[in-house]
Subunit: 228 residues, 2 copies
């Protein structure tokens, strides 16, 4: 029996994007159910009590598996489909990938995404009015600090966690790509990050991400441009 | 050659406590370096650029391993010292442990710990003045919701993720125990959670947690009482 997968996700959710990238890189086919998570639909909360995307449902195996939250999904995919390895092989490499996962999912989200995406995306989705400029400014300042840090890593590494493409790259790219949708990434000041992002953008797993559109939210002109 | 471990941690940091509980449960000896993380000491930032605790350093193996951030440490311990299994065995069990890890480290921290610990602990450590009552109230309201949710799980499960003690229990207990240090957990209204916490409190791995004290921060009278 072959496993069938359905991903419950929101296209502009960085956590969902990480899972889509990992599934794509591992060439695992999946069906999609786009979820308006802010409306807390029962179809989602029945699967995940936190009401958050992403949720991956695997059927057709020995049991139906409901995987809630990005890290649980990513860890499962790594255990069930270890090739290609996206979390590193040796202990030190795995530790570095996981350090950076935490960096982007906590620190970046807290210092950057939480400001920019709340102001530019969530307020639109929820009908909460115009963005507050002070918050946008704070998010953009935080973004510069993070781009500086990424640039410093990428000056001596091919990928963020070292010589191998990993979930750390997907986490960073997932968070950055949503901010890039809204045109807020100052690529030209961060050459190494830009080169790294060009490499990621041209991978087949990234293509669906570049095709994402949401009604009422228009992407920046260069968003899907491989040569931006 | 035997592995030597040093844990850089802050006693009242929930993330650090999770790691101490896992190390204790796996009977792995470790030295301790208590870190005043809010002063951003170089000894810490040189190991972990995020400046956050915990950091675990393992020496004496084939290479020195620097493990930054709680989840990276917990995942490494599980891979390097699989017995006893703290993250579950079958895929569904592991998914449930990981769902709950996310629940406590993100949702609980965001809705409860971020309010109560900021007001009662961080403000004291940083000399930022008296707690704001509105924030405390919001944290306490959030706490009740989380205790209700835990209670509903524990009415049909021996441990939070199912029939086995897991990192989900340690995550929940780590977050709750710091709030309990400040006397803010309404145990009497949540009988199943209280029974569960009594079982955890009496495990040897929990003993060091109950001995934690910090100058200027006095624990609630029942904090280290096994029969509270």
């Amino acid at each position: 029996m072959s496993v069938e997968r359905t991903l419950h996700h929101f296209p502009l959710d960085p956590a969902s994007r990480q899972v889509r990238l990992a599934l794509g890189e591992k060439r695992l086919a999946f069906g999609e159910l786009v979820v308006r998570y802010w409306e807390r639909p029962k179809s989602l909360t029945a699967l995940n009590p936190s009401g958050m995307t992403p949720v991956l449902v695997e059927t057709g195996g020995p049991e139906t598996l409901v995987l809630c939250e990005s890290r649980a999904i990513l860890d499962h995919l790594e255990e069930a489909y270890p090739e290609p390895a996206l979390i590193g092989v040796e202990a030190a490499e795995r530790a570095e990938v996981r350090r950076l996962l935490q960096w982007f999912d906590r620190k970046f989200e807290f210092e950057v995404g939480g400001f920019i995406l709340h102001e530019k995306m969530e307020k639109r989705l929820l009908g909460l009015g115009a963005p507050e400029l002070a918050n946008l400014r704070q998010g953009r300042e935080g973004l510069k600090n993070h781009l500086h840090y990424m640039d410093s890593l990428l000056q001596s590494r091919e990928w963020l966690a070292g010589r191998r493409l990993s979930l750390a790259d997907f986490a960073a790219a997932a968070h950055l790509s949503v901010i890039d949708y809204f045109g807020d990434v100052p690529w030209k000041d961060f050459a190494s990050v830009k080169t790294w992002y060009m490499k990621l953008k041209s991978r087949p797993a990234f293509r669906p991400i570049l095709l994402d559109r949401w009604p009422g939210l228009t992407p920046a002109g260069h968003y899907d441009d491989l040569d931006f």
